[in-house]
């Protein structure tokens, strides 16, 4: 029984403690340099453990998940990242969101090949993120 508990609990504990960030950036038409730059910008934020960026034409949607310990600062991290990216690329239409729904939907969009579909979906998600009611 003790052995079984150890087998189950130790991996859980180790996974829970891992501080590895998973940053994924997808964009069919965007150049490699821009993608790498945005990835490094997200990676610089130590509180972010999952970041997914979808780039389609001028629209960029970045979904982040922050560490549970800094959950209360979620919106602050969101705003900081948004400001940094906007300063660097004023021509892009960026939205950084820490919403779980955005995380889910962007994960789905990572696989999507059709450029137009991605653009439409990103626009739709941005509208959804601004919804208050």
């Amino acid at each position: 029984m003790k052995k079984l508990a150890a087998i189950v609990l130790i991996p859980l504990f180790l996974i829970g403690c891992s501080s590895e960030q998973t940053i994924q950036v997808a964009g069919i038409t965007t150049d490699e340099e821009k993608r790498a730059e945005i990835e490094s910008l997200i990676r610089d934020k130590k509180d972010v453990y999952t970041g997914t960026a979808i780039m389609a034409e001028d629209e960029v949607l970045i979904a982040i998940q922050v560490n549970p310990w800094v959950g209360f600062k979620e919106q602050k991290v969101e705003k900081e990242l948004q400001k940094e990216i906007e300063e660097k690329y004023p021509e892009l239409n960026v939205l950084v969101s820490s919403d779980f729904k955005m995380h889910w939907e962007t994960q789905k969009l990572l696989e999507e090949e059709d450029e137009k579909k991605v653009t439409d979906e990103v626009k739709k998600l941005k509208d959804l993120a601004k919804e208050e009611t």
Binding site: D99, F100, K101, M102, W104, L128, A129, E131, E132, T133
Partner: protein, 151 residues
């Protein structure tokens, strides 16, 4: 027998309250109710266009609705007897308070009985919620029009 003596005898005969056990029960049942609420939030987010911010309202409405049906079927009473505050503190307790008061007044007729009793327990909560929301919105409107904060 003087009052002190009586009190002593009373205390000796009262069975001890199992505080720890009650707390554990309330903790578990309250936690399970909250876990169900979280699951409903995720369902709304997966299958409908709800976000973290907007799914809350729909979840609360659903949880209250479920609690109301359970109260009507007489099941929530059993849960309440078992878990105590664990079933009363989450928002489901609100649905229970409305419907159980309505059922209680049913013998006195529909209007004076059900209608008059329905909000006996929960009415103050609703009034306080609506009233405070109105005043906070008013304060925010004033602050926004003065340019202190943004919407």
């Amino acid at each position: 027998m003087d009052p002190q003596e009586y009190q002593q005898i009373e205390q000796q005969n009262t069975p001890p309250t199992p505080y720890l056990k009650n707390c554990l029960k309330a903790f578990l049942v309250g936690g399970i109710i909250c876990a169900i609420g979280q699951a409903i939030t995720f369902l709304y987010m997966i299958f409908f266009d709800f976000t973290d911010k907007t799914a809350g309202n729909a979840t609360v409405a659903t949880m209250v609705f479920i609690a109301m049906i359970l109260t009507g079927l007489g099941l929530y009473r059993k849960l309440g007897a078992f878990a105590g505050a664990g079933s009363a503190v989450p928002v489901t307790g609100f649905g229970n308070a409305v419907v159980s008061a309505a059922i209680e007044g049913k013998t006195e007729g529909w209007v004076l009985g059900v209608g008059g009793n329905m909000f006996k327990l929960a009415g103050s909560v609703i009034l306080f919620g609506v009233g405070s929301a109105f005043f906070i919105a008013l304060i925010k409107l004033i602050l926004v029009s003065m340019g202190v904060v943004e919407w």
